[in-house]
C-alpha cells in the first residue's frame, strides 16, 4: 500500500496510544477507506455514472465504563488528537449516567494482513463493457415478453473496494482489502388490463468481474421475465385450506436472516437496539432451549470465500469463525462482540462490523444460511398431493422481537400430485419463528446464497451480507392472500 498506507498505520497507532495516555481503559482506531464506481440506467439507456470515495479514521474509547466514538476525515495528527479527546471527554461526561459500567471480554486478537484477490480486477474491463451490460440486460428482459411489456427496467452496476487498518490497545493490528461487485435491478412488467408485476433483485459477492460470468444475469432475466409475464397474466388465488409448502431457497435465506440471525445478536438480546430495530424473543438464559426440530441448523459464517459478507477478522481484531446459531433445533450460540461476550462470560465470536469510518463497530451477521439436507427438488415435491412452491418474494417484514413474520411470494406455483402446475398469485406465508423451524420436514441438498444489505444501528449502518439455504418443505400451512 506504499507510503500513504504507512502514514495511516502511524495515525491509527498514534490514536490508540494517545487515548491510552489520556486514561482510556480500552482504545481502538480504524482507518477505513471505501471507493466505488457505479453506472445506472433505465431501459438500457445509461443515465449517468457515480463515484464514491469515503475515507477517514474512527476512534472508540472506553472511559470509566462509558463508551465514546468519534471520527474525522481530515487525516493529520491534530485532527486525530481532536477526535480522540472528543471521544474521551464525552465518554467521561456520560459515565456518571452509567448504572452498569461497560466492560470488554478478553480476546485473542490478531495481527494479520489479508485480502480478497479478484480473478478479474475491475480495471481489466473497459467502462464501455460495463455500459453494454445495461443494454444486454434490457434486451434480455424486454425481449422476452409477448402480451405484456416491460414498462421499466432500472439497473445499477456497482464495484467497490473496502480497505481497513484496525488497531486496538490489546495489540490487534489488522489490515484488509475486500473488493466487491453488485448488480441490482427493478423490473416492472405492465399489462393494460392485468396491471403490473414488480421484481427487485440484487446480486453481490466479494471479488471482481469474474462474478458476472457466474451469475449469467442476462440469461436469468430472459427466462424469468417470461415467467413474470405469465404470473401477471395467469396466476390463480392460492388454496385456502391447509397444504404443504415448498419454501424456495431465496425465501429460506431471508427467513433465517430475519428469524435466526437477527434475534441471535447478543446486543439486541441485551436491549441495545431496543428503540431502533427492537429486541429479541430470545432472552438472556435461553441458550439450549428448543426453537425447532432436528432439521433446523442455521450457521453464520464470515469466512466463506467469495461471499458478500466475507471477513477474516472483525473490527475489534478478533479472528472470525463459523457460528452455529441454531443447531438441530436448539438455540446454540449468539453473535457476540467483546462487550456482550463479557456479559455472557464467553469469548467474542467476531461479529463486530462497522460500515465505514464514521460508524462504531456493532454486532452484525455475515453470511447466514440454513444447513442443507439430501433431497432433490423432485423428491421434495413428489409426495405432495396439494401444495404451493414459493420460489421468490417481494414484500416481507418481521416484528421487532423477530417472532411474527410475513413473506409474499412472487414467482409461485401450485403443486398437485407431485407436479408443478399453474402459477399462484401473491401467496402469503405468515408464521411465527417457532412454527417455521418446527415444521421443516425435509431439506433440499442444494445450498444457494443471495446478497443483501443489512441495516442496523443508529445512525443506521448498511453492511453487505449473504443469506441462503436449500429449498425446504413445510407441512400443514395455511397460506394467506394479499389484498386485491
Amino acid at each position: 500500500m506504499g507510503v500513504v498506507g504507512l502514514e495511516y498505520e502511524d495515525l491509527v497507532l498514534y490514536a490508540v496510544d494517545y487515548a491510552r495516555n489520556l486514561g482510556a481503559k480500552y482504545a481502538e482506531a480504524r482507518h477505513h477507506k471505501k471507493t466505488g464506481f457505479e453506472v445506472f440506467s433505465r431501459n438500457g439507456v445509461v443515465l449517468g455514472a457515480g463515484k464514491i470515495i469515503s475515507e477517514g479514521i474512527g476512534v472508540r474509547v472506553l472511559v470509566d465504563g462509558a463508551l465514546g466514538f468519534s471520527s474525522a476525515n481530515k487525516l493529520d495528527k491534530e485532527s486525530i488528537r481532536n477526535i480522540v479527546e472528543r471521544a474521551f471527554i464525552q465518554a467521561k461526561a456520560h459515565s456518571k449516567l452509567m448504572k452498569k459500567p461497560i466492560e470488554f471480554a478478553d480476546a485473542r486478537v490478531g495481527r494479520a494482513t489479508y485480502g480478497v484477490v479478484e480473478k478479474k480486477p475491475f480495471d481489466r474491463v473497459s467502462i464501455d463493457e460495463k455500459l453494454k451490460l445495461h443494454e444486454e440486460f434490457w434486451k434480455a428482459a424486454s425481449g422476452s415478453v409477448k402480451e405484456a411489456k416491460v414498462a421499466v427496467f432500472f439497473a445499477e452496476y456497482i464495484e467497490s473496494i473496502e480497505e481497513k487498518i484496525v488497531a486496538n490497545s490489546d495489540g490487534a493490528f489488522i489490515r484488509s482489502r475486500i473488493p466487491r461487485i453488485r448488480i441490482e435491478y427493478n423490473l416492472v412488467v405492465d399489462h393494460p388490463q392485468k396491471g403490473t408485476l414488480q421484481r427487485f433483485e440484487e446480486y453481490g459477492a466479494s471479488g471482481g468481474i469474474e462474478w458476472l460470468y457466474e451469475w449469467k444475469i442476462s440469461e436469468e432475466l430472459e427466462k424469468n421475465t417470461k415467467k413474470y409475464e405469465e404470473v401477471l397474466l395467469k396466476a390463480k388465488e392460492p388454496p385456502k385450506e391447509e397444504i404443504d409448502v415448498i419454501v424456495g431457497s431465496e425465501v429460506v435465506g431471508l427467513i433465517v436472516h430475519e428469524s435466526c440471525g437477527h434475534p441471535s445478536e447478543a446486543d439486541r438480546i441485551l436491549g441495545r437496539e431496543a428503540a431502533q430495530a427492537g429486541k429479541s424473543f430470545i432472552k438472556p438464559g435461553m441458550l439450549g432451549e428448543r426453537i425447532g426440530n432436528e432439521n433446523a441448523t442455521v450457521i453464520d459464517d464470515p469466512t466463506i470465500p467469495g461471499s458478500y459478507g466475507f471477513y477474516l477478522y472483525d473490527d475489534e481484531g478478533v479472528p472470525a469463525r463459523p457460528r452455529y446459531l441454531y443447531r438441530e433445533g436448539i438455540i446454540y450460540e449468539h453473535l457476540h462482540n467483546r462487550w456482550t461476550a463479557k456479559i455472557y462470560g464467553v469469548e467474542s465470536n467476531a461479529a463486530a462490523r462497522a460500515m465505514d469510518y464514521k460508524s462504531e463497530p456493532i454486532i452484525r451477521m455475515a453470511n447466514t444460511y440454513l444447513k442443507p439436507g439430501d433431497y432433490s427438488f423432485e423428491e421434495l415435491i413428489e409426495d405432495i398431493k396439494k401444495g404451493v412452491y414459493i420460489k421468490s418474494y417481494m414484500e416481507w417484514n418481521i416484528d421487532d422481537i423477530r417472532w411474527s413474520q410475513r413473506y409474499v411470494g412472487l414467482e409461485a406455483y401450485l403443486i398437485e400430485n407431485g407436479e408443478l402446475k399453474v402459477y399462484v398469485r401473491n401467496p402469503v406465508l405468515e408464521l411465527t419463528t417457532k412454527a417455521f423451524y418446527s415444521k421443516i420436514d425435509a431439506l433440499g441438498k442444494e445450498l444457494r446464497f443471495y446478497a443483501g444489505t443489512c441495516g442496523k444501528g443508529e445512525p443506521a449502518q448498511g453492511v453487505p451480507v449473504w443469506f441462503g439455504g436449500p429449498d425446504v418443505r413445510l407441512r400443514k400451512i395455511r397460506l394467506g392472500v394479499a389484498p386485491r
Partner: protein, 446 residues
C-alpha cells in the same frame, strides 16, 4: 464568503479548467453529537466532524455524480482529472438539462439555535432529562432511544455562478419506554431549536403509552377502522413523499406512475404539503442542490395530486418547471406537512365503532410499488376501540393493504400536529392523528 463557499467555488473552477462543460459542488460540513440510550443509560456517545464534498460534472451531456468524504482537497482535485477520462467513455444522458441560471435566494431566518450548538459539546444533561422524564411514570421499567444534535453548514457553487451558503442546527430525539411484561410505547421529535418542553412531551408520551398498553389481549385480524398516530402516518408519508419524486416515478417505484397532476388520488380531506420553508422542521432549506429557491407546495391537495417534485432535469423531460426539489439526479421532498383537521383525539376515537388506535409501526415493505400493495408491522401500544371508546390494549397486527386505498379512506384528521423525525420517518414530518376507514390487517396463521 465562508471558507466552504470558496472551496466549492474553486472546485467548480477546477472542473471547468480540466475540461468539463458544467459543474456544481456541494460541501456539507457537520458537527454532530449523538447519545444512544439503552436500559435507561447511555450505550455509546458518538461525535462526528465531517466534510462531505459532492460534485456534479457534465461533459458533452454525459453526467457524473461524485460523493467524496476526502482526507484532503488534493484527493478531490486528483479525482476530477480521472473523472474527465471516465466522462468521455460514458454515454449522453437522456436526463441531461443545463444547470439553471442562479436566483437571488431568500434566506430562511432563525435556522441556527445557539443552545443546540452548545449542547453538541455536552449533551449529557439532555440525555438525563429524557430518561428522567420517562421514569416519572413510576411503572416504566426502562427506556431506550437517542438524542442527536447537529450543526450543519452547506455551500453550493455552480458553473452558472451560484455561490450559496446556509447553516442550521437540528435536533432529533426518540424514546421507547417499556413497562411490565408487555407494555411499550414510543415517540419521536424533530426540531430546529432546542425546546426542552417538547423533549419532555416526547418522553412522556412514550412512557404513558408503555404503561397504558400493559396486559394486551389478542384480537382477530380483519378489516378495522384505524386511527394512525403521527408516528405511523409519518412512516407512510415517507413513502408517499418519495413516490411523488419524478425520478421515483421514472424508475418505476411509485403509485403515481400512472397518474398526472389533477388526478384524484386520495380522500378530499387529505392535503400533504412539501414545506421546505417551515423553520420548525429540520429538513428546511432556502435553496435546492441546483441553487433554486425552495417553496412550499401541495403534493396532494384535498385529495387531488397537485405536484410531482422536480429538479431541472426531470422537469425538462416532463416539459414543466423545476419545483425547487433538486437532488441533481433525484428530486426529493424536504419536509412533509399534513394540513390538520378539527378533531381532538377523543373526538376521532368517538367516530369509531370498532377499530384500533395504532401508535407505532416499522418495517414497511411493498409487494408492488406501482400498485402500492404493502404491509407494515405495528409495534408498541395498540388499543382496541369499541363504540367510540378505547376498551383495551391489544397485541400487534400487520396493516396489509394498498396505499391508494388507504389514502382514499382517510376519514378525519386531528387538530393537534406533531413534529416527527426518527428511524422510520426519515423526512421530517408534521402530522396529526388520522382516522382511516376499513383497513385490512393480518396476523401469522401458525
Amino acid at each position: 464568503m465562508k471558507d466552504i463557499v470558496e472551496i466549492s467555488s474553486k472546485l467548480v473552477e477546477r472542473a471547468l479548467s480540466e475540461g468539463f462543460d458544467e459543474a456544481a459542488t456541494i460541501i456539507r460540513r457537520n458537527k454532530r453529537t449523538m447519545v444512544k440510550i439503552a436500559n435507561s443509560e447511555p450505550s455509546v456517545i458518538q461525535h462526528w466532524t465531517t466534510t462531505e464534498v459532492d460534485l456534479y460534472l457534465v461533459k458533452d451531456k454525459r453526467i457524473i455524480v461524485v460523493s467524496l468524504e476526502p482526507s484532503s482537497l488534493d484527493e478531490v482535485n486528483k479525482s476530477i482529472k480521472e473523472l474527465l477520462a471516465m466522462a468521455k467513455n460514458i454515454r449522453e444522458s437522456p436526463l441531461y438539462a443545463p444547470l439553471p441560471e442562479p436566483e437571488t435566494i431568500q434566506p430562511i431566518p432563525e435556522m441556527v439555535d445557539k443552545k443546540i450548538l452548545e449542547s453538541t459539546e455536552d449533551p449529557s444533561k439532555l440525555a438525563e432529562l429524557i430518561i428522567e422524564t420517562a421514569h416519572r411514570e413510576t411503572k416504566v421499567d426502562y427506556v431506550a432511544g437517542m438524542i442527536d444534535l447537529t450543526y450543519g453548514e452547506k455551500a453550493l457553487a455552480t458553473s452558472k455562478n451560484a455561490r450559496l451558503y446556509e447553516d442550521s442546527t437540528s435536533l432529533q430525539s426518540y424514546l421507547r419506554a417499556f413497562s411490565g411484561e408487555d407494555g411499550s410505547g414510543q415517540w419521536a421529535v424533530g426540531l430546529r431549536k432546542l425546546d426542552t418542553r417538547k423533549l419532555e412531551e416526547m418522553a412522556s408520551i412514550a412512557a404513558r403509552y408503555a404503561v397504558e398498553s400493559r396486559n394486551r389481549v389478542e384480537i382477530e385480524p380483519g378489516k378495522y377502522d384505524l386511527i394512525l398516530s403521527p408516528m405511523v402516518f409519518g412512516n407512510l408519508l415517507d413513502l408517499i413523499g418519495w413516490m411523488s419524486s419524478a425520478f421515483t416515478i421514472f424508475m418505476g417505484a411509485s403509485i403515481f406512475m400512472k397518474n398526472k397532476p389533477g388526478d384524484k388520488v386520495a380522500s378530499s380531506k387529505l392535503t400533504i404539503i412539501d414545506d421546505p420553508r417551515n423553520p420548525e422542521l429540520p429538513g428546511s432549506t432556502a435553496f435546492d442542490d441546483e441553487g433554486i429557491n425552495t417553496y412550499s407546495k401541495p403534493i396532494i391537495e384535498n385529495g387531488v395530486l397537485k405536484t410531482i417534485l422536480h429538479n431541472t432535469k426531470t422537469a425538462t423531460k416532463a416539459k414543466t418547471k423545476t419545483t425547487g426539489n433538486a437532488g441533481w439526479i433525484v428530486p426529493q421532498p424536504w419536509n412533509l406537512v399534513v394540513t390538520p383537521g378539527d378533531y381532538k383525539l377523543d373526538e376521532l376515537i368517538a367516530e369509531v365503532k370498532r377499530g384500533i388506535l395504532v401508535t407505532n409501526n416499522w418495517y414497511t415493505r411493498l409487494q408492488n410499488y406501482v400498485e402500492g400493495l404493502f404491509s407494515t408491522i405495528t409495534r408498541d401500544a395498540l388499543f382496541l376501540i369499541e363504540n367510540g371508546k378505547i376498551s383495551k390494549p391489544v397485541a400487534k397486527l400487520r396493516i396489509a393493504d394498498k396505499l391508494p386505498r388507504l389514502l382514499s379512506n382517510v376519514e378525519a384528521l386531528g387538530k393537534e400536529v406533531y413534529d416527527i423525525w426518527w428511524w422510520e420517518v426519515r423526512i421530517p414530518t408534521k402530522t396529526p392523528y388520522i382516522l382511516v376507514r376499513d383497513v385490512h390487517t393480518s396476523k401469522h396463521t401458525v
